[in-house]
């Protein structure tokens, strides 16, 4: 049960039930769709950039608690960051959920460290990173939807 509690931390459950920035962004100048064919998770990420800076970021779609909470918290933590900072945070986040980095990188990851429990559930890494890969595609203006397979 303790591993389960590590995975489904209250913050994650709370975000999955009431996701932040969960809406379309009509003014977005970047947009991408990502899906996880294994479980049917599907998200669209909308981004408004100004120069190098992420002015606004929102998402829509459906998925499991992990993927939805991750998308929600991603939008919160990347708003106002520049692209290089966002890429750096994703890199740290990816290391965190794959267990390559201990969960003490608080300074950069902040609240996102609640996802450290994912590393004990390798099949769920794709859920935790789906929104992030989709954001990357949005910023690179990739036309093809992102697939985790």
């Amino acid at each position: 049960m303790s591993e389960l509690r590590d995975l489904y931390q209250d913050v994650i459950l709370e975000h999955s039930k009431a996701p932040r920035n969960f809406r379309e962004l009509p003014a977005a100048n970047h947009k991408a769709e990502g899906f996880n064919p294994l479980c049917g998770d599907r998200f669209t990420i909308y981004v408004t950039t100004e120069g190098d800076s992420i002015r606004d970021i929102t998402f829509q779609g459906s998925g499991c608690a992990i993927s939805k909470a991750s998308a929600s918290m991603m939008t919160q933590s990347l708003k106002g960051k520049n692209k290089a900072e966002a890429a750096k945070i994703f890199e740290r986040f990816h290391k965190l959920v794959t267990g390559l980095e201990p969960s003490n990188g608080e300074a950069e990851l902040g609240k996102l460290t609640v996802f450290s429990g994912v590393s004990e559930f390798p099949v769920r890494v794709k859920c935790a990173t789906l929104a992030w890969h989709t954001l990357q595609a949005a910023l690179e203006d990739k036309q093809e939807p992102v697939s985790t397979e």
Binding site: G40, G63, R124
Partner: protein, 433 residues
């Protein structure tokens, strides 16, 4: 029973407990405890709990008899078949062909050469699409399937129809997950070259009225292929009584090894069909000018086959025969009735697929919880179920959901395991409360 004993025994409890009135337990003809002992993997613990394996529609576990048959083959018989004059080759050939006869008897095919060994149901369907289909389906023709098919009974026909300029028609299902038979009948038209449909739905458990469907198709001279992947493990199949033209199933869902399955076809149809793959064993003679194909069934078995797999499949079918498929069906029917009663009584849980006739499968969703999260939490309890779209995305779309959680049963499952599943779902609701 003391609480401690209760804890130890709960998971292998072979009789229903705390059952509400109405459902009577028949004395099972099978000793489930004894059967469980035949399956080594069922002794395994997962996350510190005794494994509760409820993902049998994906693949069943293998009894010792199957594992031993494969080991015995590799340790004592291994050699290539149909060509050697030496002792081992003759012995291997005899075992391989004996398994074909076992499969023939199992589905009551009229002749052994109507049994073609393939990799599984998927290959069986692709074989028919690529041989019979390519020879018979032309521009403007139609292939009819149903809205409850597995991707493997959709995509091969899409590929064929795209290639031939033909149209894939789909007979709809209702809100319970039952085929709308009138629409099916109406869609059998003058251009329909084949009707291909599942015997039992993998995502919903619906048992189709295949006998009636075949009669309807044959009434219009349309041949029929049946996807029997989810039916063969759970119900007696008699291809002659059904009068189907093709029937295909996978070994690994009926206690056999992965990578082997059976395509049954009526002799006359198979004779008339072009070969599937070219290679060794499927020929009578080869020159650079002309090749004469081998007779049935070898015409469709190019290359060295999965000999150990075939022998393992034979052992699996013999194992099922030993228990009696009717006894298996009766036990599973009780499990399904018990699970349906218990799971549908949990607040916030709805069943997806409530057809009157179902086999082996219970699909459900927990309100406010994605099936993937249900699967992870149950896994922590040592309970293996399938979550996702079950390779049936159109079915999910029909019900307006991305995925379901699916528990599916085999002969070794117990009422205690269903109780464990119910407790697990309780835990899911706790975590997400």
């Amino acid at each position: 029973m003391s609480t401690a004993a209760n804890k130890v025994d709960a998971r292998t409890q072979t009789q229903p407990r705390g059952r509400a009135g109405g459902l009577q337990t028949q004395a099972s003809a099978l000793d489930i405890e004894k059967i469980r002992a035949d399956f080594p993997i069922l002794q395994k613990t997962v996350h510190g709990k005794l494994l509760v394996y409820l993902d049998n529609a994906a693949t069943s576990q293998k009894p010792r008899a199957v594992i031993d048959a494969i080991t015995r083959y590799y340790e004592g018989t291994n050699s290539n078949i149909h060509r050697g004059v030496h002792f081992l080759s003759e012995h291997a050939t005899a075992e391989y062909e004996a398994a074909r006869q076992t499969a023939q008897t199992f589905i009551n095919a009229a002749q052994a050469h109507e049994i073609i060994f393939v990799r599984g149901t998927t290959e069986g369907i692709n074989l028919v699409a690529q041989t019979y289909g390519r020879a018979q389906v032309h521009r403007g023709d139609e292939v009819l399937i149903t809205a409850m098919e597995h991707h493997s009974n959709i995509v091969p026909w899409q590929i064929l129809c795209d290639e031939r300029g033909a149209e894939l028609r789909v007979a709809p299902i209702d809100d319970r997950g039952e085929l709308q038979l009138d629409d099916f009948s109406r869609l059998l038209g003058p251009r329909t070259k084949l009707a291909a449909f599942t015997h039992v739905s993998n995502a919903l458990g619906t048992i189709n009225p295949v006998k009636r469907m075949i009669e309807l198709a044959h009434g219009k001279n349309i041949p029929v292929l049946i996807d029997g992947a989810q039916a063969v493990p759970h119900t007696k199949v008699d291809v002659q009584a059904l009068d189907c033209d093709f029937y295909t199933f996978s070994g690994h869902k009926v206690y056999g090894p992965t990578g082997i399955g059976v395509l049954y076809g009526k002799s006359a149809l198979l004779e008339a069909m072009p070969p599937y793959q070219g290679g060794g064993d499927m020929i009578s003679s080869v020159t650079f000018e002309k090749t004469t194909y081998n007779k049935l069934p070898y015409k469709f078995e190019a290359g060295t086959p999965d000999i150990a797999g075939v022998i393992g499949l034979g052992a699996a079918l013999n194992y099922v025969n030993g228990l009696g498929i009717e006894n298996i069906a009766a036990h599973e029917h009780e499990l399904l009735a018990y699970a349906t009663e218990k799971i549908s009584a949990i607040p916030g849980v709805s069943l997806i697929g409530t057809a009157k006739e179902r086999a082996g499968v219970i699909s459900f969703v927990v309100e406010g919880v994605h099936p993937h999260d249900v699967g992870t939490i149950l896994d922590q309890e040592g309970i293996a179920i399938r979550t996702g779209h079950h390779c049936s995305q159109p079915v999910m779309e029909r019900f307006g959901i991305p995925a379901t959680a699916r528990a599916s049963f085999a002969v070794y499952n117990t009422f205690g395991e269903i109780d464990a599943l119910v407790r697990g779902i309780g835990k899911v609701r706790e975590v997400f409360a």
